[in-house]
């Protein structure tokens, strides 16, 4: 039997699982999906050992929004510091970079609050060290997502340049300008960025490893359009 026809041999509850996954991508609210999960667990003991629960829609939206902003902010930071001399484009990029940083800081504060008040979906069975590694790296990422914009912000104010969010609101100076502090914050900002880049690569590698090698549904907890039930 060819793989192309595999879905025809699928039991009806799996098809309905796809059906519900489809609606979940359209933004069908959380409780409908949860109700389905309960039903499916009740009717089939044979369901794949993969986990069924997702992060909340709020957590998923914030995760991907912040991911996009981090990617944009990091790239822009890289490009703008490579532009030699002084050009209008360079100054424009500096302003955008700062606005992105402030936005990330704001959304990560929301994420931390949400994370503290909402239990994340359970992990599938995995070795203890992996569980710990996941917890430590997630905690560190949260810390870095707050510290990196903060270090950049302080770097700007140490250099005597206020941050004017979206060119509209001048944000409070937390410190007084000081050329000696400028370099400290600058290298903290850069050092933490490379730390985070390394962690993000590990984060992505782990997510892809779980999805394509382990096929344990870990990635689907954070990706709305992925089927929650992967072949086991």
């Amino acid at each position: 039997m060819s793989n192309d026809n595999a879905h025809l041999m699928m039991p009806y509850w799996r098809l309905s699982g796809f059906y519900f996954s489809y609606f979940a991508t359209l933004g069908v609210v959380e409780h409908r999906r949860r109700r389905f999960d309960t039903i499916s667990v009740g009717t089939t003991a044979m369901t794949a050992p993969a986990i069924n629960e997702r992060y909340t829609l709020t957590a998923i939206s914030l995760h991907w929004l912040v991911a996009l902003l981090i990617f944009a902010g990091f790239s822009l930071g890289w490009i703008m510091t490579d532009i030699p001399g002084l050009t209008p484009t360079k100054l424009r990029y500096f302003s955008w970079h700062k606005w992105i940083g402030v936005t990330i800081f704001f959304f990560v504060c929301l994420r931390v609050l949400w994370r503290l008040t909402h239990r994340p979906p359970p992990l599938p069975p995995m070795p203890r060290w992996q569980r710990i590694a996941a917890q430590v790296s997630h905690g560190t990422l949260y810390g870095l997502m707050l510290l990196i914009p903060l270090a950049g912000y302080l770097y700007s104010y140490a250099a005597g340049v206020p941050v004017v969010y979206l060119g509209l609101v001048e944000l409070p100076p937390l410190i007084t300008p000081n050329p000696a502090h400028e370099d400290i914050f600058k290298y903290t900002h850069i050092g933490l960025n490379f730390t985070m880049a390394a962690l993000v690569i590990g984060h992505i590698a782990a997510a892809l490893g779980h999805h394509f090698i382990r096929r344990d549904g870990v990635l689907a907890r954070m990706v709305p359009f992925l089927s929650r039930r992967t072949e086991s």
Binding site: R92, S95, A159
Partner: protein, 182 residues
């Protein structure tokens, strides 16, 4: 050695003359604020001289002359300072001095003056009227105020910088000049 020693004398005399011309040891400050996408960028001129003759009883007889050493500009960043000296911005090699020479002083109130005169920056001269606040602190007089200028009028920021969407056209020049009693 002998030549060097003799050269020192006129330099020292010139320095003493310059010292005598400055009103006090602390002549005050001349700074400016430009806006880059609404971000205030502050800078100051570390070297300038100001000669002010002013008698409150006869303000119209007063005179003021300010000469700024443009290359002494400090934006608080080495790279930016370097850029400001280039041809695109202030071209300090061709135009090392910026000056203001008063032509008329008018008293508007006991502590407010309007000083008209010629402002020269980057080789371009413009007639301006500067609002000045007069303060008497002990035996010294302080003249302070803000003069908004349009940088493009003086060709400050050429080529791609003529576009004022990143660096605004208006630049505020702020002065706080301290004059010793005469």
């Amino acid at each position: 050695m002998r030549i060097i020693r003799w050269a020192v004398v006129p330099i020292a005399l010139a320095a003493m003359a310059a010292w005598a011309q400055t009103p006090t040891a602390n002549p005050g400050t001349i700074s400016f604020v430009a806006k880059q996408m609404n971000v205030p960028i502050k800078g100051q001129f570390k070297q300038f001289s100001a000669q002010i003759q002013f008698d409150p009883a006869r303000p119209a007889a007063g005179k003021a002359a300010v000469e700024i050493d443009v290359a002494s500009l400090d934006l608080g960043d080495k790279e930016f300072n370097y850029e400001m000296n280039t041809k695109t911005w202030l071209d300090t090699r061709t135009y090392p001095k910026a000056t203001f020479i008063s032509s008329a002083i008018k008293a508007i109130a006991p502590d407010r003056l309007e000083v008209s005169g010629k402002l020269t920056i980057k080789g371009k001269t413009l007639d301006v009227a500067v609002p000045v606040t007069l303060k008497t602190e002990g035996r010294t007089r302080v003249f302070e105020g803000t003069l908004p200028i349009r940088r493009t009028t003086f060709n400050i920021g050429e080529d791609e910088w003529r576009d004022t969407s990143v660096v605004a056209d208006e630049v505020q020049i702020r002065f706080h000049l301290i004059a010793a009693p005469q």
